[in-house]
């Protein structure tokens, strides 16, 4: 081949790479625009485990060959929590049970979760006659490690079952039975053999381990050492299995995934210095939103040092509140009554649309398509602050929304 040509083409190529390539490549989105990414201060061992968990969460897709189903709701964690963010009607799941809190009497009928999809050749589960149900739109998964690191004593400090301060708000903790594999930590306070739940819309999962094992088996039909049997359906407790050998996910993968959830960074607030945002923040506490959506927490001693003694801003008290008739689906979980929902964290709220396909699907079942709508649904203990919100001037409302969108 002719030397000159070779040299010039190679030259062009190298120059291209040296000078322009980086410019020709799409830039990285700013850290505060995405939810994915580790907390600061992880050791290199921890980073390795984080990456392994990231793969298990975002890339591991289950099929009938490697354990999906036979009854399931979705095929991977990432299908429901895209970019670690909130979900969509497509990934919304259904739980069924009953309206009193004596425990789910439909467990023998495949409760609590409806596996509404099935691998080919299998018929999905139906909600049994007489059961009540509620829909759950996936929440975001960020910053959960900080919430897990809070001690039960810290959470219980805000409980006010008899509304002794007379503000109309009486947050309570959900108490749930621990699964067999559960490992109690010194920061847990056990009441009558039950533990405080803090994950899930009704706070039915005690920690991220509990949540993850349930997600594998209930959402995807993937068995693990911790939950070794496929979810029951239609009154059959150990239904037809698939042909994948159990456990369908290795314990090490489950542990990596839990570590990933624990060390996902907290969403970073945007436009903090904007005066409208700052005034919105003031309004947020003035009208009583912050009574449930507790802005600030600080962790104490904790095994993952990157999470210990850290102040963070989730805007939740992790407690259950009676949200009134319009959010009452007639379905209970643990001690959580039909109208009771855990205050969801509001961090990352402004980024929700980026994982929900461009529109908001807020509240437990995604029924609210805007922040304003979500506020309007606030009843029960939140009725007063809803009324306060409705009484704001247009400009004040706008600032409040700007603040919420900056989260």
């Amino acid at each position: 081949m002719n030397k000159k040509i070779m040299v010039s083409i190679t030259g062009v190529f190298i120059i291209c790479i040296m000078i322009s390539c980086e410019k020709l490549l799409p830039p990285a989105p700013k850290d505060d625009e995405i939810l994915d990414g580790p907390v600061e201060g992880l050791s290199s061992e921890e980073k390795i485990q984080f990456i392994a968990g990231d793969i298990a969460f975002n890339e591991e897709v289950f099929t009938a060959q490697n354990g999906l189903g036979p009854y399931f709701v979705a095929t991977s964690c990432g299908s429901c929590h895209a970019g670690d963010g909130k979900g969509h009607p497509f990934s919304t799941l259904t739980r069924f049970g009953q309206s009193d809190s004596t425990g789910n009497s439909f467990m023998a009928y495949g409760g609590p979760q409806l596996q509404n999809r099935a691998i080919p050749g299998y018929t999905p589960e139906q909600i049994p006659a007489g059961a009540t149900f509620s829909k759950f739109t996936p929440p975001a998964n960020t910053g959960l490690g900080f919430l897990e690191a809070l001690s039960d004593a810290q959470i219980l400090a805000n409980v006010d079952p008899f509304d002794s301060n007379g503000d109309g708000i009486s947050g309570v903790a959900n108490y749930v039975n621990a699964p067999a594999y559960f490992q109690s930590k010194p920061h847990h306070i056990i009441v009558a053999g039950k533990y405080i739940g803090r994950f899930g819309k009704k706070a039915a999962a005690i920690d991220l381990w509990h949540q993850t094992v349930n997600a594998y088996v209930q959402d995807m039909g993937v068995t693990s050492e911790y939950a070794p049997t496929e979810p029951g359906i239609n009154g059959v407790m150990s239904p037809y299995g698939d042909n994948a050998p159990d456990p369908e996910v290795q314990s090490s993968t489950v542990q990596n995934l839990i570590f990933y959830l624990r060390t996902l960074k907290a969403p970073i607030q945007r436009n903090q210095d904007d005066s409208n945002v700052q005034s919105g923040k003031q309004i947020f506490s003035n009208i009583g939103c912050a009574k449930c959506h507790t802005p600030e927490w600080t962790t104490q001693q904790w095994p993952i040092s990157a999470l210990a003694y850290k102040t963070f801003y989730p805007y939740t008290d992790l407690l259950l509140h009676d949200m009134g008739a319009s959010l009452d689906d007639g379905y209970t979980e643990g001690k959580a009554l039909t109208s009771e929902w855990k205050t969801p964290p509001l961090w990352g709220l402004g980024l929700s649309k980026n994982s929900q396909g461009g529109t908001y699907f807020l509240l437990h079942d995604g029924r609210a398509q805007s922040i304003e709508q979500a506020i309007s649904f606030h009843g029960g203990e939140a009725q007063t602050s809803n009324n306060n919100y409705q009484a704001l001037s247009a400009g004040e409302k706008e600032n409040l929304i700007k603040f919420l969108e900056s989260l």
Binding site: I5, S79, H88, R117, P120
Partner: protein, 418 residues
């Protein structure tokens, strides 16, 4: 059987031996050009996409009834997605060898063996025997390339100005898609027109196309099932039919269809499910605008599958996509001693939607699609060799329609017949 022998040649040693032997021959041809002569490709402008397997530069050795050819590709690329770059990497995506022989005057055998990614995989892309009975009626059997779209049969690297194969032609039509089977083909030509058809029954897809780690309907998944060269997944043939028409001055248009059953509806004589179909329909076209010599080459494909409604919409039941390549020669003359050299500028626009439809839950559009634009520059010292520089930019949107992941990169490489 010859085909099975060739297929079983997964043994690396044998392949290396073959390559060495072949390279020797080429070396030999350079010293004694009277023994080995190059069979030029037909440039009469009457060849169709479906003729591509035979219309390649072959080397003929003396009076031996065997001719041999092949091509190799080598690239380097520098890509990044949303600010995360994978750095610079080098690839030999494929090296292909083809051998054709005339067994009897009207019985031909042709095989194409591909070594992918530096020998990581060896595949028989084509290995079939043609028996000519009448121009309008010929038999072909063995490992055939299903004639769906234009690219699948006309995929040789040196023919294209772009380093990456078209997205829709590799992920909706899983090029190179070949299977064991039999069929008929024929051709009729008159004046400036040629018309041709092909029809094959082969082994085909399996249910992994809707159960794979791509988390979307992914037809290439069936290529992983090498068993398909030995037995059908479900005992149902995949039919492929194509008809194409070419006018010497206007161009070519092809219509093709491929369809069959992809699921295992029966096992051990026990019925498990109903038969579920997959059908693909494709249009391919190419033309050269007179005077300015711009070539336009493209393909469009639609696929539809019968997927149980109780499964998940993660796996699309309708797919579509296509590409258009526009190649404009800007210099065509003797360059630095190469007689027939050309420099082209080119652009490819491409698109693939893996899930056409709406969510059952709320009636909103399902996304899961990708768009790409690829401007490029190529230098062809001779028609058989291309040195190419491409810049690629693509936008990939997930199922829910969230902000697209943007990927871009520079690719540089060559592809040549040898």
């Amino acid at each position: 059987m010859k085909q099975t022998f060739l297929y079983n040649l997964h043994n690396m040693k044998k392949a290396i031996l073959l390559i060495l032997l072949f390279l020797n021959l080429i070396g030999y041809s350079q010293t004694d050009s009277s023994f080995i002569k190059r069979i030029q490709t037909d440039t009469s402008n009457m060849k169709l996409n479906m003729d591509a397997v035979y219309n390649r530069p072959f080397l003929q050795m003396g009076k031996l009834p065997v001719s041999i050819g092949g091509y190799i590709e080598a690239n380097s690329s520098y890509f990044g997605t949303d600010g995360v770059t994978e750095g610079l990497s080098f690839q030999i995506p494929r090296m292909t060898i083809f051998i054709s022989s005339t067994i009897k005057k009207r019985i031909k055998f042709l095989s194409e063996i591909e070594l992918e990614e530096g020998g990581k995989e060896i595949a028989i892309e084509f290995a079939s025997m043609d028996i000519e009975l009448h121009p309008l009626f010929n038999l072909r059997g063995g490992v055939v390339m299903n004639p769906i779209g234009g690219f699948n049969q006309n995929h040789d690297g040196p023919k294209w100005e772009f380093i990456s194969r078209p997205i829709s032609s590799t992920t909706i039509i899983p090029s190179t898609w070949s299977n064991v089977g039999f069929g008929i083909f024929g051709k009729y030509g008159r004046n400036n027109l040629v018309w041709a058809y092909e029809f094959y029954a082969t082994n085909g897809f399996d249910d992994k196309i809707i159960a794979n780690d791509q988390n979307r309907t992914w037809l290439p998944e069936s290529k992983k099932n090498k068993e398909r060269f030995e037995e059908s997944f479900n005992g149902e043939p995949l039919y492929t039919a194509k008809t194409a028409l070419r006018h010497r001055k206007i161009g070519e248009i092809g219509f093709s269809w491929m369809g069959g059953i992809y699921n295992k509806f029966m096992d051990d004589g026990i019925e498990l499910d109903k038969k579920r179909r997959i059908d693909l329909f494709a249009i391919d076209f190419n033309t050269t605008i007179p005077v300015i010599k711009t070539t336009i080459n493209g393909e469009w494909v639609w696929a539809s599958l019968d997927i149980p409604t109780t499964y998940t919409q993660q796996f699309g039941d309708k797919l579509q996509g296509g590409f258009v390549d526009i190649v404009q020669p800007i210099i065509r003359r003797k360059i630095l001693g190469w007689e027939n050299a050309t420099i082209n500028i080119a652009a490819r626009l491409e698109y693939a939607d893996y899930n056409v439809g709406t969510f059952r839950e709320n009636g909103e559009n399902i996304s899961d699609h990708i768009y790409a634009v690829v401007p490029g520059l190529s230098f062809r010292p001779s028609p058989q060799t291309v040195i190419r520089l491409n810049y690629r930019y693509h936008w990939q949107t997930d199922l829910l329609g969230n902000p697209a992941a943007r990927t871009a990169g520079i690719q540089f490489g060559f592809s040549t017949y040898f």
